[in-house]
Symmetry: C2
Subunit: 146 residues, 2 copies
DNA sequence: TAGACACATATGCATCTGCATATAATGCAA
DNA sequence: TTGCATTATATGCAGATGCATATGTGTCTA
């Protein structure tokens, strides 16, 4: 079982989980209070909106958002139901869906960002100096599994 | 709306979310492959087991684990159903439940740790030098909302 | 001591998630 | 071309979660 697991690693991991949950919860709360949908909706809209022509293969959205396949599938169902995106079958490879953002989707994306941004700053950024933020970003970029 | 939100803060936040999700997912996978229950079960057992006499008020478990009240309530239902903990009404204040770990609960707690520990090391610790782990633990301790 | 409030826990219901598997299009080998 | 593995997406069902609110207990105050 030879664990080389040190206490700093355990503390770092525990801190990571705790911070992510606490900050995420508060961000979700802000969104809800502003009458906006959950963060996952934002992340999907964000990926599609920022990609060329506002369209992206569904599998691409999946790998960018790290959502489970069946989970993203049903989230796109909901977004489609709200008229925020459209699903088109890919001409080149009939297996793929292309998710296309609508004007309404772009509008929601734009409306969510200020609330999201303010919540990140308030719950997270404000607790870090610029140097610390950079250090943290750098460390996490190194540790993130590809 | 004056956001002072810098791009390092955004990167740090995105990295935090990505890392937490990816590593958690892989840890859950290891537990499942080992025929063990999800991480939340571990965290509850851990808090109760390590507290004096292996008992803790349910509200205490809640604040330690950061689980939602109704969520913890039903998780304790499940743990109780599996004979891993017992619920007793508190003698002093009838509103409180006291969650008491059973021998079976302790055994499961002990059985889960090696798998959990190995997964943390493999998915997380191994990607960090000792100095980086310490730095990360320190940064996250500062940023974690109380 | 009655009434109002606060606190800890529980629960009905709708929604969401995870799992296994289905459907459907593609590619590749014989 | 047929047959089989591969890739992308969807879905039935069981279980978990979020929300609002219920239940039961304690505390404080007039």
């Amino acid at each position: 079982m030879s664990t080389k697991l040190t206490s700093s690693v355990i503390e770092a991991w525990a801190g990571l989980v705790r911070t992510e949950r606490a900050v995420s919860d508060r961000i979700e709360e802000r969104l809800k209070n502003a009458g906006l949908p959950p963060l996952d909706w934002y992340h999907v809209l964000h990926e599609v909106d920022r990609s060329p022509k506002g369209m992206m293969r569904q599998s691409g959205v999946q790998s960018r958002t790290q959502l489970a396949q069946y989970n993203l599938c049903r989230l796109v169902d909901r977004l489609e139901g709200e008229g925020l995106v459209e699903r088109h079958q890919c001409q080149v490879d009939g297996r793929n869906n292309v998710v296309v953002i609508t004007a309404k989707g772009r509008a929601l994306h734009r409306a969510m960002w200020p609330v999201y941004a303010a919540a990140i700053e308030e719950q997270f950024g404000a607790r870090l100096s610029p140097a610390e933020a950079e250090q943290l970003a750098h460390l996490l970029a190194r540790v993130a599994p590809v």
